[in-house]
């Protein structure tokens, strides 16, 4: 193992040296591996319907309103704690998967329903809906390609303090509010400009202004009422309820290869309990989602069964996945090139091994 203590090799900006290299080597906008699925089967999997997402959204809204009502009713006593615990997870965690599925337009068949849920969830997450729509498109084009992917959650070498603090949203919220405030002032950063077309940039500013205006109104209400309650309902749940989003979301790519063009090697599928799968809307089938983003969340388990012969074995639980990841993270502190090599089953087709070979010397088996 080659130790490179304290020396960062990766430039995660989207307009820097790694960006130039990714374009030069053909890693940017590359053609990615897809497991063979017949057109007939894929057409069935891709089919949209409003039913499952309507059912889930009614449950979701009912749970949000119910837990908020309980929190308000018991405000001032310890009985409000369980209500805000539930409300926080619904607001600060499950909004992530609604944002995600609404953004892809796969949750509902009806377009406006996807758009409404996308806007609401973006607000809950303190994400600029326009910026994040484009950053997510880039994430799908260049998944974990350094210098190209705008959504790499854990950069190398990993920042453990940031990682831990994000379970209560401290750093994320700070940067999100700064970004929204900057956008509200009419400023779009060079990184944002690198993936948002000029014709769309005015929408970034409008969304920033709307979000910031709502937060100012919430703060004003809190001052007026001399109470934390308005902030417990709007804004703060992004912190006290985001732990589930971070716990599940980190597992998508953490510790795996970067700069490859095969989602089987840089993305993780993890089996999860039914409650987490409701909160996460089946995004635990993450390899499947990246390979076939057209497949709605409710069809991902079926897709998983169809293609799992060609994928690395899924982690059997969240706990198992973290036990697998933790030693890799520790090793990456000393050597940022270290990563966990995903084993493909013997029946799987390898793909573009020249990219993988570059880093193989550093891979942990």
């Amino acid at each position: 193992m080659t130790a490179t203590v304290g020396k960062k090799k990766r430039d995660y900006s989207l307009v820097g040296e790694s960006t130039r290299k990714a374009i030069e080597t053909g890693l940017a906008s590359a053609e990615w591996y897809h497991t063979d699925v017949s057109r007939k089967e894929m057409k069935q999997l891709m089919q949209r319907s409003d039913g499952p997402a309507m059912r889930d959204t009614i449950i979701w809204f009912a749970a949000i309103i119910g837990s908020a009502a309980g929190g308000i009713y018991f405000w001032g006593s310890w009985w409000c704690v369980p209500f805000f615990f539930v409300y926080g997870v619904l607001y600060g965690s499950s909004s992530d998967s609604r944002w995600h599925e609404g953004g892809h337009g796969t949750a509902f068949r009806t377009r406006w329903m996807n758009d409404v849920i996308y806007q609401i969830a973006s607000f809950m997450l303190m994400r600029n809906p326009t910026t994040w729509r484009w950053s997510h498109a880039r994430h799908h084009t260049d998944t974990i390609i350094v210098g190209r992917d705008a959504e790499i959650a854990v950069m190398r070498p990993p920042d453990l303090i940031r990682l831990v603090l994000n379970f209560v949203g401290i750093i994320d919220v700070w940067y999100s509010l700064i970004a929204l405030g900057r956008n509200a002032l009419g400023i779009v950063s060079p990184d944002e400009k690198s993936y948002i077309p000029e014709t769309e940039q005015h929408k970034v500013v409008t969304a920033g202004r709307i979000h910031i205006a709502i937060y100012i109104a919430t703060l004003a209400a809190a001052f007026y009422l001399r109470s934390w309650l308005p902030l417990m309902l709007i804004g703060l749940p992004r912190m006290y309820g985001c732990w589930h989003m971070v716990m599940t979301g980190l597992l998508q790519h953490i510790g795996l290869a970067d700069n490859v063009t095969d989602h089987r090697l840089n993305t993780r599928t993890v089996y999860m309990n039914p409650v987490s799968r409701f909160i996460y809307w089946n995004m635990n089938y993450h390899v499947e989602h990246h390979m076939f983003p057209m497949v709605p969340y409710h069809a991902l388990p079926k897709l998983h069964e169809m293609i799992k012969h060609d994928l690395p074995v899924a982690n059997p639980s969240i706990w198992h996945a973290y036990r697998e990841v933790w030693p890799v993270i520790l090793r990456q502190l000393r050597n940022e090139d270290d990563f966990l090599k995903r084993e493909l089953p013997p029946t799987a087709k390898p793909y573009r091994e020249e990219f993988h070979a570059v880093n193989m010397a550093n891979a942990a088996e």
Binding site: S29, T141, E200, M294
Partner: protein
Amino acid sequence: MSEWVEACSEGDVETEDVIRFDHGGRTFAIYRSPDDEFFATDGFCTHEKMHLADGLVMDDIIECPKHNGRFNYKTGEAKGAPVCINLKTYPVKVEAGKVMIQLD
């Protein structure tokens, strides 16, 4: 100069579906609408180089398989982010069971 080119047979495209047609170094998408009319557009999405024929046809919309960008395949209109540039469409006629598209 424009020319009519045979793209496929009627039966090659299922109702509410799309197939890919390559000709003269270019690629096209041939659609069959839910009411069995045929349409043709450029084969690649205008966002990135992705074959629309791998996408999903819903009513008069083709959804791109990469980032779910949507176009009206009858008019070529891009329906919003991440697709902002309209798709080029081509005249289509069906003669003796053959789907013909007019290329420029």
